[in-house]
Symmetry: C2
Subunit: 241 residues, 2 copies
């Protein structure tokens, strides 16, 4: 059984305001919950519709009927499990290696995909402008497929961060230099901009190198690449050497 208060809490955690108030977030699906349980992130409570996650003690686990899972799940096809985790304390940002910086990414699927890409390409530090979609948005958590446990994400003032950092700063612009011809260093900040407006003017001023993925084909009408697919190509270029 799931109590009225639990339903109220779970529903409220769809919203950033209540996630911050309670310092809790939601995860759905076996794969994501499995990875979170293996990490340092602390479980608050787990709901399952079938025997799963035997390592979780009974007092932290509630067995539900599928109809009840439907009531608490945000998914159109609910999975067999939903969990509430504690939001971990923010760790101070590191200022080394390859750092990805997101300037106002709004789509949860894009942020989740970019976190998964960072994980694949061994980028452990992602920094986001304060306007970027919340890391603990359930759609972001879902889209990371567990990579959320392996990439450190900080929300901060990107202009301030870039100014104090000694790393070279690469920004992606339609009119940038061909990325295939660039000598890309192992340590750098790679800035990706908002889905519609690109990199903001304030941040543009502190970028040291403008780069772009060249278009191919004769017609050349494609307006732009999606920010997550562009990130895939830029990270591949940084790492391939």
């Amino acid at each position: 059984m799931v109590s009225k208060n639990q339903i109220k809490l779970i529903t409220s955690l769809q919203h950033k305001k209540y996630r911050q108030e309670h310092q809790l977030f939601l995860a759905e699906g076996v794969k994501v919950i499995q990875e979170l349980l293996l990490s340092n992130i602390v479980l608050e409570h787990l709901f399952v519709t079938e025997p799963l996650f035997e390592q979780v003690p009974d007092f932290q686990k509630t067995m539900l009927k599928e109809a009840d899972m439907k009531r608490i799940s945000a998914l159109s096809s609910p999975s067999s499990c939903l969990a509430i985790f504690k939001i971990p304390q923010e760790v101070p940002v590191s200022n080394r290696g390859l750092i990805v910086a997101l300037d106002d990414i709004r789509d949860p699927g894009n942020l989740g995909t970019i976190i998964r890409l960072c994980d694949w390409f061994g980028v452990t530090q992602l920094i986001c402008s304060r306007e970027t979609v919340d890391l603990y948005n359930p759609k972001v958590v879902q889209a990371t497929m567990g990579s959320i446990t392996r990439v450190q994400v900080n929300y901060l003032d990107l202009v301030d961060f870039v100014k104090q950092s000694e790393l070279p700063v690469f920004g992606t612009f339609m009119d940038g230099a061909n990325v295939y011809d660039e000598k890309l260093p192992a340590e750098a900040i790679l800035v990706l901009g908002n889905e519609a407006n690109g990199i903001s003017h304030g941040l543009e001023k502190v970028i040291t190198r403008r780069i772009a993925i060249p278009r191919f084909g004769e017609i050349q009408k494609t307006e732009s690449l999606n920010v997550a697919t562009a990130t895939a190509i830029f990270l591949s270029e940084f790492r391939r050497n």
Copy 2:
């Protein structure tokens, strides 16, 4: 005003069965409709909530109130326009250049993103297994952002196609050779597999070269890249030389 019959027709076009029966498909949003109107694809009817697309004659255009647009739109935030287009006749598949082959891609967003990537990288021919999600699924049309007008898509038996083709066939596998070390030709077939199961066994047998994007980082637990982001990196590798 939108008639009951129009609502019925538009709603039915969310489903492949009725798209095939009527040989019609839906598009929503200014950008996508604009690109479709500029292409050879024939408009059946356009619905707008504000004065848009002056080039479209009155008999093909209906002005709607926003409340009516909400009734016919599949989007949670309807745009200012929705159009019905005729499905164009399938053009025979070409057997030259770089061809992307999709083996049972199920997610409409992934197919749409891959079409947009093909357009960017000058790949004009995409071939799909018959189990791949329908090109005229409204979510696919939406995700292509207009690139649907510039990439030719054919649904066919991939094994038969590959067998008759003389092009080298690259398949993407977790255990494939490092793509960064490959000499990639200008003319080839690049096969991407299903989101969960990869490339099917029948097709695997006719692949001449297995390639992969190497993982980076120390922990290396990321299970796989999303098929659309993997396609981005493979197409970038094929074109960068």
